[in-house]
């Protein structure tokens, strides 16, 4: 259904914050963040693309985190939050004509932990003239 790219795992961003021991602990923290599929294909440029997107994350620590969807105006819409968990998953019905970023952020401080993008692509560019639509 989707390209082989979609089977890949979107990687991770490690955010280093804090000072002293806390900083050392967070420096060692690793996050895996996967979004599948990473590509949604529509027939024609400009049309909404539909996909069921599965998002999974794992963190070596257990921070309270929230999953956000970045909107066009660069504000983020909260989708789901977890507390006292070092892993989680969410299933989202994707519907967009443009690329969308998904971000994992800390509940407190709203710090970015990981980011991945679902790219919308298309089979035909929108500047082609309307064709005859006939089969036989």
């Amino acid at each position: 259904m989707y390209s082989s790219v979609s089977r890949g795992i979107a990687l991770l961003t490690v955010i280093i914050t804090g000072t002293g021991q806390a900083a050392n602990a967070e420096e060692k923290a690793q996050v895996s963040f996967s979004v599948q599929p990473q590509q949604c294909v529509t027939m024609r440029q400009g049309r909404d693309c539909f996909a069921t997107v599965k998002i999974q994350w794992q963190h070596t620590l257990s921070p309270a985190v929230c999953l956000y969807q970045m909107t066009k105006d660069q504000t983020h819409k909260q989708l789901k939050c977890w507390s006292n968990s070092n892993q989680g998953q969410a299933v989202i019905e994707f519907e967009s004509s443009e690329n969308i970023h998904y971000q994992l952020r800390t509940f407190e401080g709203d710090k970015l932990i990981a980011d991945a993008e679902v790219v919308v692509s298309w089979l035909h560019k929108n500047n082609t003239r309307r064709r005859r639509w006939r089969l036989f």
Partner: protein, 341 residues
């Protein structure tokens, strides 16, 4: 009568003067406002102007970035009222095809009959176009049409074009590929394809298109026999409605085509020199064909798509009177993949 005309004239003059006064007053108020705004603008500090300029630059950069991301040419307004500039589309099509023909007892017999490989090329340049039927797998030129866009408007278009409207057949070659001998077709003269010079009117709606071709058509001769051809009128119309469902494009189509008598007679008529024990002399009438169609496309990736469709065609029942014909309704089905370059 004259008095009434005078009164009417006076009324119109008065109304014109009143409107003119209002227009002039409004124009002055606009000019005053503009001058005021200009003075106000000139009083804005230099820093503020710089900030504004920086903001505009930022917005412009964002727009360019967005355009690049979307692979949109900012200069391309995609205006449908301009004729197509250079544009091309090349598609390789591999499909399975279950098809029928009106000719008596003719069936698909070999595996290759079901498998079709099509190289579909569409080219557009300054109003000229060469396009293949993008739904059908055809390796031959039969599916192509060459034309020129005479008038292009927002919701309608007028083209002149040449294309093949009816495919010909060679009876002996058909018989060679059939499992059973078809006596009705044996010894029949070859029929060439019918090409037509047509005017096409297309009307575009939000999610649908209607077009009608009015074509002066002529069967292209295969033999040297100058009498062995036919010409006539073909009126071919089709309406197609696009129903998008999630990532699917589903098209519902209906068509009606008229073929003039001489053309139908050329294909399914039986001349005196073709008469045999199972094939009496036959002269065909003009004919209609009605079509219903459902076609669906699904994008598998940014280059591949899955396509499937079914078309049901109904010809005038009178064609079954021909000894060469045993069906007046045809069902055609195709399913396959396309690669778009």
């Amino acid at each position: 009568m004259i008095t009434m005309c005078k009164k009417s004239l006076i009324y119109r003059l008065t109304r014109s003067v009143v409107i003119s006064v209002f227009v002039v007053a409004y124009a002055f108020s606009v000019i005053s406002f503009a001058e005021g705004a200009q003075e106000e603008a000139s009083s804005v500090s230099k820093d503020a102007a710089n900030e504004q300029q920086a903001e505009q630059s930022s917005l412009l950069a964002k727009a360019v970035k967005l355009a690049k991301e979307k692979r949109i040419d900012p200069n391309n307004t995609n205006s449908p009222v301009t004729k197509d500039d250079f544009e091309w589309l090349f598609v390789v099509d591999l499909s399975l095809n279950k098809s029928q023909t009106i000719l008596a007892d003719v069936e698909q017999t070999e595996s290759w009959d079901y498998l079709q490989l099509g190289l579909l090329l569409d080219v557009y340049y300054k109003g000229f176009f060469l396009q293949t039927n993008s739904r059908r797998s055809l390796a031959s030129i039969d599916g192509g049409e060459f034309g020129y866009q005479i008038i292009v408007r927002d919701n309608w278009q007028l083209d002149v074009l040449i294309k093949t409207y009816i495919e010909g057949f060679e009876a002996e070659k058909i018989i060679e590929h059939q499992e059973e001998y078809i006596s009705q077709l044996a010894g029949l003269d070859d029929r060439g394809s019918t090409g037509g010079l047509a005017l096409r009117y297309s009307h575009f709606f939000d999610n649908s298109i209607f077009f009608v071709d009015v074509a002066a058509a002529r069967a292209i001769e295969i033999t040297d026999d100058e009498d062995d051809y036919a010409s006539g009128l073909i009126i071919d119309s089709f309406y197609s409605y696009l129903l998008p469902y999630r990532n699917w494009d589903i098209y519902f189509g209906a068509g009606l085509t008229f073929y003039q008598q001489a053309l139908i007679d050329y294909y399914i008529g039986v001349d005196a020199d073709e008469v045999s024990a199972v094939r009496p002399l036959f002269k065909a009438n003009s004919s209609y064909r009605a079509q219903l169609e459902v076609y669906a496309q699904y994008p598998l990736s940014s280059h591949w798509s899955f396509n499937a469709g079914i078309t049901q065609s109904f010809y005038s029942s009178s064609i079954k009177r021909s000894p060469l014909v045993d069906k007046s309704a045809l069902t055609q089905f195709m399913a396959g993949v396309k690669y778009v370059f």
